[in-house]
Subunit: 568 residues, 2 copies
């Protein structure tokens, strides 16, 4: 038989028997047709490719990520991943869904067609993350989820973040899970610190996996209970390193997959993607075959993908050639039998072209300077305040602080260690907006406005000077969204993100440079670190303990109750 | 929380982490609600059961068997399996389908409802095994398969035996496989000795597994290619013992399941079922956890059963308590949280009651004495003859033998080492019937008639004396089917099988005794061995090399061409 393609002189990494042996790999119509076993005759192909004794492994599969976190539109995101050997991703578009509703899902489905990366979409299960305490474009209930699950290329239900709702049988989560179970699809979990009988309730409701596990004991409990661990290595979260000691001592790694969740362009460009996870795992002592299986066989099994994850005949001919399994760097990437990348670069770069996107900056009334002032009478006013710990910029608590009053307004940002947060609803829904003092954030100067603000992605502003905050916010409001930094009264950084205020058409290298500039600015402002923009985008996240600001006001995220600004 | 049932003091065999530790198992509404981990508090149940430190494992799952082979109707079959710890079976009803067509499938679906055994049905892919060379009730094409796949409790497409048809893109198999792939269901293979590029074609067509592998090298090739090995231990085939050396040296056993295919009642009563396979595997050196996983986790994965195969919360509460993992004998069997068997016996025996079944003995014309005579002229006649090897009662070859003629008929059965086969179409289709001489079968005396005759289950008769053959056949024809033995001119054994001529309502113990009697009779006739009745039922099987007799006449099973009886 004359095959379309025969890849000769590979060392085949057999993930079924854990053997490696010289083999030829035949491809027909984009699928694996045959992999020779020792002793078989030479195969003949229309195209014959010499693998020069490199290892042949299946293309890598990421079981959980958000394309939006890269701030790149899907086609640019694909360019960053494909040369790294990732050939399939399971993407939860819940960021764009909060901004654009079902239209966002439709957009992601269209925008991920015919890319050099196979993108499966999950139906976002929690839009918004917590109903009734913040405003998104269009909340998803059972009906919306059912509609999404009927679309092509939908892999299941995306991370079920409202685990308290699942455990408590909240009607919204029952509806959403019922739709997922009825469709018989993969239901992806998200259950940090869930334990004991509550963990069992979460599993029994159909949630199969978790990517929020940081601790070895927590990971062991979840695996023992039958959960699949989607071990994460994100730009802002290094669970793989933390969990590796457990992975090394377990006899059974069937229920381990790898995922990246949120990765910024700089990390993609500099460090890579799942290839980096395999390098970290193997360097840490994991058997290369076990590490590769986590990113292939096990991943495909979790997502119910029966046509990939291994080089079984009939599967998609997505495969990598790698020189060294202990320093896993794909030299060649084949997608459907086509050589799409070599030496870490795409073979054929698409021409650069920026597309136009529907405007999602839908403020119902203009932003005014007084939106950044807290009106008050008398010599001072007591306000409820979001307080940070000095050593943890993620968890907050509630403080009641007293501020001097001048000209009918509380003086907040000019007090030592205090700054301000503001949130403006931007989905054309109700024009709600809120302001609150913040203690010990670390912000020393400047103001920053962003439309990347989990999960509803309303317009968020942080700063110390109301005038600078106004300049940042109004500059951003005049665009389709993005990030604006103001320092000493002028705009010093601006990144436009015309797609949903979350993404733009820029290549990974360009985005990496822009975010490097942003980091420098934010560092000067007093927000240092590897991913200050990611931290910034979580300041309004309504599911993190204990106090957050949404467009509706201050929120007790544990009780899910609004807190009045004035403490008197 | 107060659970329906808490099983206390178990040693939980955790198949996810390969650990064992003391645990309590909570059941709610027939499903696993929670399994405690070390350090958890005592659970409380309405019913609390003391496991007395026995090992708790999931109920066992057989991925491939034929209920018909037990000759018992499903409810009696279930009684034999349930006390042995098998809680789910994947049954291919292709025997009854050959006799009753789609009505046979409907019957099996009805008859397997509400049993103490969960029965999933596969759509038989090859009814009849080879079209156009034998007569079944109703051949199945794509349309019939599609109809079956839409019924509830259908697990997929049953063993795709026509592997030459698959490899050669035969239209019937393309239709059938297309229906299976479209439905996205499990497609079970059957591919003895298939190798190399043909094996790859078979896998690429969607066939996932094989239970016909006898040799270690063959098993290794299939596993390397990505096939799932359904390792078999049947009454007439001991593959598990043969393949154990490979299982012991493999690093990865994810793609190994256990199945029993065809088991006779005596073996079920005396030796057991999957529990016996686990005992054999563990005695042979396999790790008990690997052996248990083959019969639970791996089996559920192959058949796409997401609600069993492990004790994950939400799964069906099908579980076993076992005192010794190295001599695996389920002491207690729970099905859906109900204790259904203890100490190898059902807790509650259903009352015995024989049901009535539609008659499937549909001969279009009566059987006559002359049906067992070969008319001939002259002093002798040359006839094409089925010839057995002395040492292999399975494979045949074609011989041309010369027989004396007396009274216008060939003298066959009274020649040394010769006997006769006859086949009568019994499905009310065309009344076809055939007769042929047989060499070296070993039959010394007697005649036997049976309606269990793979795969079309026409009325088959073997004997040496035409009058005895006529007596056996006509006695059987007067019933709804079964087995009749005639010795020295009188009926010495009769087993009625009113359901499709294949099964009857008798408990396993009774059936075991009856078959013991049959074995004694057949042994006297010259057909000794552990399962002579199984050998008997394969004498007309049109897919075994090289010459068989069907209702249409002598068949060259390799070329699939009819052979004339007269060789002149």
């Amino acid at each position: 038989m004359l095959y379309d393609l025969v890849i000769k002189n590979t060392i085949y990494v057999n993930l079924f028997t854990h053997e490696m042996y010289p083999a030829q790999i035949a491809v027909q119509s984009g699928r694996i047709a045959h992999v020779t076993q020792p002793g078989e005759a030479e195969l003949t192909g229309v195209w014959e490719y010499d693998a020069k004794n490199k290892f042949a492994v299946p293309g890598l599969i990421d079981t959980h990520l958000h394309i939006e976190s890269s701030m790149m539109t899907p086609r640019y995101f694909a360019r960053a991943l494909a040369p790294r050997g990732t050939t399939t991703v399971c993407a939860d578009p819940h960021e764009i869904a909060n901004v654009m509703g079902l239209k966002g899902i439709q957009y992601m489905l269209q925008a991920t067609e015919n890319l050099p990366l196979r993108v499966l979409i999950l139906a976002p299960s929690c839009v918004p993350s917590v109903p009734e305490v913040e405003t998104c474009r269009e909340p998803f209930g059972g009906k919306e989820i059912e509609w999404i699950l009927e679309q092509p290329r939908i892999a299941g239900l995306g991370e079920v973040m409202d685990y308290p709702g699942v455990v408590a049988d909240a009607p919204r989560m029952q509806e959403v899970l019922c739709a997922g179970r009825k469709a018989g699809v993969f239901i992806q979990g998200h259950a940090p610190d869930l334990t004991g009988e509550e963990l069992s309730r979460y599993l029994a409701a159909g949630c199969e996996s978790d990517h929020e596990t940081h601790r070895v004991e927590e990971a062991l409990e979840k695996l023992r209970a039958g959960m699949v661990l989607e071990v994460r290595h994100a730009s802002n979260c290094y669970d793989l390193e933390r969990l590796l000691p457990l992975l090394l001592r377990l006899d059974c790694l069937e229920n381990i997959t790898f995922c990246t969740d949120d990765t910024e362009p700089g990390d993609l460009v500099e460090h890579g993607h799942l290839d980096e996870m395999i390098r970290i795992a193997v360097k840490g002592g994991m058997d290369p075959i076990d590490a590769i299986k986590a990113a292939t066989v096990n991943a495909a099994r979790l997502i119910r993908l029966r046509d990939r994850g291994s080089l079984r005949p009939g599967n998609l001919a997505d495969l990598l050639l790698v020189s060294d399994l202990h320093d896993f760097r794909p030299d060649e990437v084949f997608l459907g039998g086509e050589l799409i990348a070599r030496g870490g670069n795409m073979i054929r770069e698409d021409k650069e072209e920026k597309q136009s996107y529907p405007n999602t900056m839908l403020l119902t009334t203009p932003i005014r300077p007084e939106d950044f002032q807290v009106p008050a009478h008398g010599p001072s006013v007591k306000l409820h305040t979001i307080a940070y710990n000095d050593d943890n910029k993620f968890v907050t608590s509630l403080e009641t602080c007293e501020f001097p009053v001048e000209n009918g307004c509380a003086c907040i940002g000019n007090q030592a260690d205090f700054s301000l947060f503001a949130v403006f609803e931007r989905h054309g829904r109700n024009g709600s907006r809120a302001l609150a003092p913040v203690h010990r954030l670390g912000l020393v100067t400047g103001a920053v406005a962003t439309t990347i603000s989990h999960d509803c992605h309303n317009l968020f502003v942080a700063g110390r000077d109301p005038q600078e905050m106004y300049l940042a916010a109004s500059t951003l409001a005049a665009t389709g969204g993005g990030i604006v930094c103001v320092e000493q009264g002028r705009v010093v950084f601006q990144l436009e993100l015309p797609l949903a205020g979350l993404m733009c058409d820029e290549p990974p290298q360009v985005m990496a440079q822009k975010l490097e500039q942003l980091k420098e600015v934010l560092s000067r402002f007093g927000l240092p670190g590897h991913t200050p923009h990611m931290m910034l985008s979580s300041f309004a996240l309504a599911v993190i303990p204990a106090v957050r600001l949404t467009d509706r006001g201050l929120l007790d995220t544990i009780r899910q109750e609004m807190i009045p600004l004035y403490a008197d």
